[in-house]
Symmetry: C2
Subunit: 399 residues, 2 copies
């Protein structure tokens, strides 16, 4: 895998580049579309390609449980299995083990999956114990409650079976509210797990003798603490990874600062992926602070609830005012939904609970976000990032 920086953002950490994978080039900054269970929900791979997406990210935790990484391997790896011809990525399973499979309460490290930032774990359905020790994590399947055990080595083996172009080292995902003491402990464990992931990956080698080895990214953690984020960037950045993930939660206010702490330290010549973040404002902040890749379920998840992005902010297409509105979602949008359907039609599909509603809304939202990132990339190349950012944010957030 090769990464080439084409242009840097003056006085900032941002850059435009090209990442060459065995299955194609990703022009960065880039938004990677999420296909959790080897399908981008309600879309064909051709639709995903047509809307401009360059890469698809599958979830290791989900694919391990269903259909099983052996089945994905049997189907020729995630790309062939799901008929996606471009680059593919899998996360390490860390986040889901701790959020879906757990909620975990060792007395120290607790995490509620429902966006609950309280210190303790509530008694919700996702709130189950995940037992964590130096070796790995025991967790319960969110599907059938069965028990499983992930170690860094196991995560790498699963990702090896799934066969994506880019994979991630196994990390411990902490609660955003965890104290410094626990964050430090978890981060240091994540560093040891990163080393083990790397060693095991090197031990396994390429998927096939004739093929390139998968690119392995290490994950920087450290919560919201400057000293920990910097230490994590230093330790992980010094390891021989092909690129880096930046994990954990951030508050909107801290995001730019936290990313700057990390990306000033990470080796400039390697790509960086900010995990699970994708709101428009976050994309601008991420990019100007040195992020090359993003992924997020938000565009498709809110689409399935009828929420659509527009340059003037979000709208809910089920609102009464759209029932007889025969205009497009956005008059100048070139996505398949806007080129062929009216708001009245899409609104009708949602009211009638027709599956095609999710398809059209997902196409529009992914087109919006994927092309937002493409346009930011272009503004870096054109040296007008600041103007572009100002104009977009004024239209979108009204400020």
């Amino acid at each position: 895998m090769e990464f080439e920086i084409e242009k840097k953002l003056k006085g900032k950490l941002g850059r435009a580049g090209k990442l060459t994978t065995p299955n194609g080039v990703i022009e960065t900054p880039s938004f990677t579309v999420v296909g959790t269970k080897a399908t981008v929900k309600s879309l064909t791979p051709e639709m995903v390609n047509t809307l401009g997406a360059q890469a698809v990210l599958g979830n290791t935790y989900h694919l391990y449980l269903q259909p099983g990484d052996d089945v994905v391997k049997g189907g020729g790896g995630i790309g062939k299995f799901m008929n996606w011809k471009g680059p593919t990525v899998t996360d390490s399973g860390g986040f889901q083990v701790f959020s879906l499979g757990a909620g975990f309460g060792t007395g120290e490290n607790k995490f509620s999956a429902k966006g609950d930032t309280r210190k303790g774990c509530d008694s919700g359905e996702h709130c189950k114990l995940a037992k964590i020790d130096e070796e790995g994590v025991e967790f319960q399947s969110h599907i059938d409650g069965s028990k499983h055990y992930f170690t860094p080595e196991k995560s790498i083996e699963i990702q090896n079976n799934i066969g994506a172009d880019i994979i991630f080292a196994f990390d411990e995902c902490t609660s955003p509210t965890a104290e410094h003491e626990y964050q430090k402990e978890a981060m240091e464990r994540t560093h040891r797990w990163a080393k083990r992931s790397l060693d095991h990956h090197n031990h396994l080698g390429a998927l096939h003798p004739s093929e390139e080895k998968q690119a392995l990214f290490g994950i920087v953690q450290g919560g919201r603490f400057e000293d920990l984020r910097k230490e994590s960037a230093k330790v992980i950045g010094a390891m021989d990874f092909d690129g880096f993930g930046i994990g954990g939660s951030f508050s909107k206010e801290d995001l730019d600062e936290a990313l700057a702490w990390v990306n000033e330290i990470l080796p400039e010549e390697k790509p960086r992926h900010l995990l699970g973040i994708g709101e428009p404002i976050d994309l601008f902040i991420g990019i100007e602070n040195g992020v090359d890749m993003f992924d997020c379920v938000s565009p498709t998840r809110i689409a399935r609830n009828g929420t659509l992005y527009t340059k003037s902010g979000r709208i809910n297409i089920e609102k009464a005012e759209y029932a007889k509105d025969f205009s497009k979602i956005e008059e100048d949008c070139e996505c398949y939904a806007c080129q062929n359907y009216t708001k009245a039609y899409i609104s009708h599909l949602f009211r009638a609970k027709e599956m095609f509603a999710a398809t059209l809304a997902s196409i529009h939202n992914l087109y919006f976000i994927v092309n937002l990132v493409k346009n930011i990339r272009q503004s870096i190349l054109d040296e007008n990032f600041d103007e572009h950012k100002k104009e977009f944010l004024k239209g979108y957030y009204g400020k």
Copy 2:
């Protein structure tokens, strides 16, 4: 609208022809794909076109209730509203008024929507009163229970708003188990309603002065009684309709006889549509007995439950044996699903309850049925219908 017969089936009523509508030619016999609420469930119109479908049928009852025929009209008519560029059809709403909106119990004519052929209506949710009189039918919406009144004139006006190329006269759909006396009474009312539908259609004229008038088909009823079917074919066949629908229920055993009674009488030079029937065996029986067009929800409905057609009969893709089966549904099938995905992948999508499962299964099943009818058409042109029928049925039903 023009109908041209290209070739007749020797010694039988079947024929291959061409029906020219304002939005394109339908080569008959043809299977019309059902798009109840102005969407073929889980498919894009481009997928519907690619799999070989020539026409789409929307349901007047459903579109009247949701989004409202005024909205469909505002969107430019059903074709433009749903982005389907070929010929369109709407039924009269008769069947749904009596099955979904009713279940009705006047003491004489009762119909249970759940395929229940008992004489009385059970107390299920679909079993509501529909009040029928000479003028029309009062029924309840299956969505919100609101009351509505359809007359032949109203059905024509709604279908005029929806704007399909081919529309149907409003008919009374009787229970398959109704006695001769009630069937006769209902049939005679259907004949009077047919006359009123035709008169009102002529009164309304074309949708726009510059356009062709919609083609109006009259519906033959008469239950399972030979004398009534023949009388209905005679009366409806003598009216100035552009084509004919054949409505009501048939038992598998009676279908060929009943169709022969009707189609020997209906004017040969006009097209005939057998309403709501589409199992493989029924398609052969329909075609050899003079049917030119079919429609049925079955291919897509069973697809959404994971049931797939193959030349050796139906299979359920969720069965354990397919979880690691990396072959295609059918090796020589040229549909999008078979060209790009394995049984293991589709099986996974169903287990994971992914929407894309319904899309792939629907494409395969519609491709199967649409092309089954196309192949039967070709066998008429090639003068080997009997051999083709024998071979297919042997493979499919094993006899």
